[in-house]
């Protein structure tokens, strides 16, 4: 009896839904970005609907921690929305492999994106792209401009200058040179190793060579960043070993530290907390004149549910997401999350504009451990956290760390064997 009622209810909902689709198309977006609800409802969706009468869009986010599980069960049950916000790398790849996401290479506007931007939502061989890249985060260093002015410091561009600046701040003594702790571990890898590393392994060139098995983690390019990180230890504040991520954020925004190894996602929060001028500089190059590389890490994409009833409307929406107009709305509304399209975008937030400006000067890459290399056990990303912390604390030599990571990777990743 209960089953029957339930089945009836299901049929009822399905009929109701079909009726609604009859006239105009309604697209529902699945997302974990519930923080962005008002942005979508007040800016993005009205802008789209004004241009495309007949298509209405509903943004239906779930809590971030529940998103993957909820989305999977909705897709299995056939009740998921038409458009799916894509997590980067393996989570979305699994959805494509299971036939839940449609290939999108035939959308013309996809050519607005670079290969790096698309790499998070492609099959391993790069033949099919299944999500439109929406946003990335860029790594670099945010500094207290007032403190720099007070101490008469210039923004460093090379590594020697960088350490000279740190020495000068340390000598003066009124600021902690750099705000970062090793208690939570991930900052050391994300804002440390993968922030400065691309300058060593030449960005994409090294990252792809590592995936192909042509380079190994014991090579100089992959070990040297640990040697540099080892020098950071003395410039972090007292007791950095037990300093957490929120501690570091607070130390910097309270004006007690001069430099903060950052990801661009900090911008909005720092703008509201810090009452001093802030600036940003990109990871210093090893010697003057070198090509600079930045970690421009793909974070959010959007794809189409393969089982949608409105494939045409969904494609129209995705093509619009790939357009410069969307990029401009999105980039300005969420400073620190940068649109990935090649079309130049001007951002009103000076700090965010500084970050995105580096794209013109430097080569972009993504974090080295995210694509393919963290599928096995031991997990390379997690191992890199521990290794970066060990480097900063000086508990292991860079060579030991490289050998240890390589051994772990070799144990399951064939191209490295």
């Amino acid at each position: 009896m209960i089953k029957k009622t339930f089945a009836l209810a299901l049929v009822g909902t399905a009929l109701g839904a079909t009726a609604a689709y009859g006239q105009d198309a309604t697209l529902t977006i699945e997302s974990w970005r519930n923080d962005d609800l008002s942005l979508w409802q007040e800016q993005i969706i009205p802008a789209f609907e004004a241009e495309h009468p007949g298509i209405s869009v509903v943004f239906a986010p779930t809590a971030p921690t529940e998103y993957n599980a909820a989305l999977n069960s909705k897709l299995e049950a056939g009740s998921a929305g038409d458009l799916i916000t894509c997590r980067p790398f393996d989570a979305s790849l699994a959805l494509y492999d299971a036939g839940h996401l449609a290939g999108l290479d035939d959308i013309e506007a996809m050519s607005n994106f670079s290969d790096v931007a698309k790499s998070a939502w492609q099959t391993d061989d790069g033949s099919v792209t299944f999500c439109v890249p929406m946003a990335s985060v860029i790594h670099g260093f945010i500094y207290n401009a007032d403190a720099f002015a007070e101490l008469g410091l210039e923004v460093p561009t090379t590594e020697d200058e960088f350490f000279a600046v740190l020495d000068a701040i340390k000598e003066d003594g009124s600021y902690i040179p750099m705000a970062m702790g090793t208690n939570d571990q991930w900052e050391a890898a994300t804002m440390g190793y993968n922030n400065i590393g691309p300058n060593y392994w030449n960005g994409e060139e090294g990252r792809l060579a590592l995936i192909a098995g042509e380079q190994s983690l014991t090579d100089e390019a992959w070990v040297a960043p640990y040697a540099t990180l080892a020098r950071w230890g003395e410039y972090l504040g007292d007791g950095f070993e037990a300093q957490t991520y929120p501690d570091s954020q607070n130390i910097f925004t309270l004006g007690r530290a001069a430099i903060y190894p950052a990801g661009s996602w900090e911008i909005a929060g720092f703008n509201s907390l810090a009452d001093f001028e802030m600036g940003a500089f990109k990871p210093p190059v090893r010697s003057a004149g070198d090509t600079c590389y930045i970690s421009d890490h793909t974070d959010i994409g959007i794809g189409m549910n393969a089982a949608t009833d409105n494939p045409e409307a969904a494609r129209t929406f995705l093509a619009w997401v790939a357009s410069p107009e969307f990029a401009s709305i999105f980039g300005n509304a969420l400073p620190g999350f940068f649109p990935l399209s090649d079309a130049p975008v001007t951002l009103e937030d000076p700090l965010a504009q500084e970050f995105i400006g580096w794209r013109a000067e430097c080569e972009s890459t993504i974090r080295s451990t995210y694509q393919i290399l963290s599928r096995g056990t031991p997990n390379l990303e997690n191992e890199t956290w521990g290794a970066s912390v060990a480097a900063i604390r000086g508990t292991a030599t860079p060579e030991e760390l490289g050998a240890q990571l390589q051994e772990g990777l070799e144990s399951w990743y064939e191209p490295q064997q």
């Binding site: 790398f89 393996d90 702790g181 090793t182 208690n183 939570d184 571990q185 991930w186 504040g237 007292d238 007791g239 950095f240 070993e241 037990a242 300093q243 957490t244 501690d247 130390i251 451990t369 995210y370 963290s374 599928r375 056990t377 031991p378 997990n379 990303e381 997690n382 956290w385 521990g386 912390v389 060990a390 604390r393 508990t395 772990g408 144990s411």
Partner: protein, 304 residues
Amino acid sequence: MTKRRFPWHIVVFMAPAFLVYTAVMIFPLFNTLRLALFTEIEQTRVFVGLQNFQTLFFDPIWSEQFWNALANNFWFFIIHMLVQNPIGIALAAMLSHPRLRFAALYRSAIFIPTILSFVIVGFAWKLILSPIWGIAPSMLDAIGLKSLFAPWLGREGSALTTLSLISVWQFVGIPMMLIYASLISIPEEILEASEVDGITGMSAFWKIKLPLILPSIGIISILTFVGNFNAFDLIYVAQGALAGPDFSTDILGTFMYRTFFGFQLQLGDPHMGSAIAGAMFAIILVGVCIYLFGIQTRLRRYQF
């Protein structure tokens, strides 16, 4: 001659408890043990027998983590046994002293941390011990001992011991209450008789009271053992799932959680996770059996 009726009422009254217990305890337990015998190959579940356990104990990558977690877990347990339980007994002995004033106040104050959530305890102690905002460094500074302060939670050598002591602080109320209860149930006549024989003060505690509360101490030890080997929350709250620094605070609970549910880019592996859960179950079972058959049967009990 009437045939005795089958006692249906017993079945009926036991059924709810039995069903609930089976559904939420017995079934998941056996299903977890069953899950440990499978693995996933190309998205289908395959029976592999004891292969997961073989990986866990003999594969260098897994076994290193497992033995590290197990050794840390033993250290966690030893600290509780050496610090928490003696302090609990001492506190109970002092509280049961008839001339102690404000006993009820002390009793509640010491017991209150036990009812606090792990999240609050972990967070509060992280703040207290924080080298940046914590009151521990400034308090030590006030008495001129600043040089003794170190970022204890961030150092490999001290993090686990620090966390164990935090846990001791939280749970010292439990042995105290149990021992206190058995101390005050010792009849006055026995104590008076011993006084007549000239046993007073400290020796009354060692010679009369302690032997009488030994069974309670045994129960507390086994509760501590089970609790410590199932521990997870405090480590997770204070140090995260990677149990840093460099896995120095990793215990079986955090190792199991990380493996079962995955972490960051590491995907969850329910089968290996179940194997670890199975190993935890076996360790606890062995420990409890040693206690039940090796120790409890030898303890002498006294009827008052």
